[in-house]
Amino acid sequence: WDLFRPLAEAVAVAQHHDAVSGTAKQHVTNDYAVRIQRGVDGVEGHFSRTLNAALLTRGSPSAPAPPSPDPDAVATRCPLLNVSACPVTESMTPGDVVAVLAYNPLAWERMEHVRIPMNAAAARRAVVVDASSGEFVPSATLPAPPPAPLAGRTTTQLVFSVALPPLSVSTFFVRSLSENEVLPETALAEAAEETGA
C-alpha cells in the first residue's frame, strides 16, 4: 500500500470536478498533473522492478548465473511514445537488441500496431524484428511525424503489427544489425516508399 499511496492520494485529490473538467487556474491544473505524475513515477519503478524480476528469472534453472546486470537492461515504459520519444530505443546503436514487452489486458486476442522511434544511425543500416519464437515480423521504417523533432533527436519510426494473445505478455526483439551481420532481405524492415502518386 505504501508503494501505491502517492498515486492513490493524487488520484483522490483529482476527484475534484475542477481536476476532472479542467475548470481551474492553470497553476492549479499543473499542480494536479504534477501530483499524479509523482504517483505514477512511484508505481513505474515498481513496475520495472517486477518486469525485470520476471525477465531475469526466465530461462532454465541450470543457466549460468547472470553477469552483473547491465543498467540499460531495465524494462521501462515510454510514456511519451505518442510524441516519438523513447530513450531506450532512441539510444540504440548498430548491434544493439531491444526487447519489446507487450501486455494485452483484454481477454481476447488483439492486433496491436506498434510505432517506436529510432535514431537514424540505428535504423539506417538494417533493422530486424522477431518474436521470441525466432519468427521474423514484417516491419517498416518511415520518417517520424511532425512536429519536427528536437535537434539531435529521433528522425525515424519503426512500425510493425503483431497479434497478441489474451491477457498475456508477448516479447519481440528489435535488432539493429551491426556491420558484419547479414540476414535475408525479407527479414529486414522495409523502408516505406514516399509516394507522390
Partner: protein, 300 residues
C-alpha cells in the same frame, strides 16, 4: 496510399486535387463506398461583449455569427502533403496551416477496417488577432442524416441526438446558439445515423465535445485557447501557456490525440465501433529493455 489487405474491405486515403481536401474512402459493401473528407477549422470564441457569458473554462460558446474559419485555405498545395506506403502501414500527413497537422494511418494487418487520424494542434496563435479560438476537426461524409446522430458518454449505450431538438423540453432558440446547443460530450463514440446506406463512426481517445451541425458531418472540438474569463469561478481565461506564467507571451499548449474512423452498413456499425472502442479504451502496455548478449539469450 491504399491498404487493401483489410479483411473487411479497403480503406484508402487520397487528396482532392481540386481543393487539397484529405479524403478517406471506405468500401462499405458491394453497392456503396463512403468518402469522408477531413478538414480542420476554428470558431472564434465569443468574448461576451453582448452581455452574455463568454466562452471559457466552463462554457463552450463559439461565436455563431461567424462560420468556422478553415485552418488552411482550400487549395491544392503539394507541399502540405507527405504520403508513405509500405507492406505494414500506409500513412498520409497533411499540414493545416503552420500550427495544426493530421496523420492518417491504415494498417495492412487489420481485421476491423478503419483509419487512425492522429491530430496535432497548437500552439494556437492569439497575439495577432486577439481572438480566442475553439479548434475542431471535421469529417464530412455526404450522408443524408436528416440531422440525426448518436453519442455515448458512458461507454455503455448510445444516446440518439437530433439537431435543434430536445426530447424533454421544447427547443425554440435554434438561431441563437446553433453550434454549442448542438454539441454533446462523447467519451468514446459518435456515429452518424439516419442514412440506410451507411453509418460513419468516430472514436476518440479522450472525452471531447462533438456535434453534427450540418447533415452528413461530425465535428469534434479538439483544442481551444480563450482570452476571456467566463465569470463562473475560475477567475482567469482558459489561456494556458507552455510556461504557465501570466505575464510573458510564451506560446500556448500543443495537444495531440487520435481519432479512429470507420464506415459500415448501419446493421454492422455497433459490432465495429464496439470492438474499436474496447481496444482504444484498454490499450496494450508496452515496455522496452536493451538486452544485448546474455540477457537476450536469457529472455528467449
Amino acid at each position: 496510399s491504399e491498404s487493401d489487405a483489410n479483411d473487411g474491405g479497403a480503406v484508402s486515403v487520397s487528396v482532392d486535387p481540386n481543393d487539397g481536401g484529405l479524403l478517406v474512402d471506405f468500401v462499405v459493401d458491394a453497392t456503396f463506398n463512403l468518402t469522408a473528407k477531413i478538414t480542420a477549422a476554428f470558431y472564434a470564441s465569443h468574448d461576451g461583449s453582448d452581455g452574455f457569458v463568454p466562452s471559457g473554462a466552463y462554457v463552450f460558446r463559439p461565436d455563431s455569427s461567424q462560420e468556422a474559419t478553415p485552418l488552411r485555405t482550400p487549395s491544392f498545395d503539394a507541399a502540405a502533403f507527405r504520403a508513405f506506403r509500405s507492406g505494414v502501414l500506409a500513412e498520409t500527413r497533411v499540414a493545416f496551416g503552420d500550427w495544426a497537422s493530421v496523420a492518417v494511418r491504415t494498417w495492412s494487418k487489420e481485421r476491423v477496417p478503419h483509419a487512425e487520424v492522429e491530430w496535432t494542434v497548437g500552439p494556437i496563435p492569439v497575439e495577432a488577432d486577439g481572438v480566442g479560438k475553439e479548434v475542431i476537426v471535421r469529417y464530412s461524409t455526404g450522408l443524408a442524416t436528416g440531422g440525426t446522430w448518436a453519442t455515448d458518454s458512458n461507454g455503455r449505450d448510445m444516446q440518439p441526438r437530433r439537431r435543434d431538438h430536445r426530447d424533454d423540453w421544447t427547443f425554440r432558440n435554434a438561431s441563437e446558439e446553433p453550434v454549442s446547443s448542438n454539441y454533446y460530450p462523447f467519451g468514446s463514440i459518435a456515429t452518424l445515423t439516419g442514412d440506410e446506406r451507411a453509418g460513419f463512426h468516430l472514436l476518440t481517445d479522450r472525452s471531447q465535445g462533438v456535434g453534427s451541425i450540418r447533415d452528413g458531418e461530425l465535428e469534434a472540438m479538439v483544442h481551444r485557447r480563450n482570452l476571456n474569463d467566463d465569470w463562473l469561478g475560475v477567475g482567469e481565461a482558459m489561456n494556458e501557456t507552455q510556461c504557465g506564467c501570466r505575464e510573458c507571451d510564451c506560446p500556448g499548449l500543443v495537444a495531440r490525440g487520435t481519432h479512429l474512423i470507420a464506415a459500415t452498413t448501419p446493421a454492422t456499425g455497433p459490432r465495429t465501433y464496439r470492438e474499436l472502442q474496447t481496444r482504444s479504451q484498454n490499450p496494450t502496455q508496452l515496455a522496452f529493455a536493451k538486452v544485448n548478449g546474455w540477457f537476450e539469450e536469457s529472455i528467449r
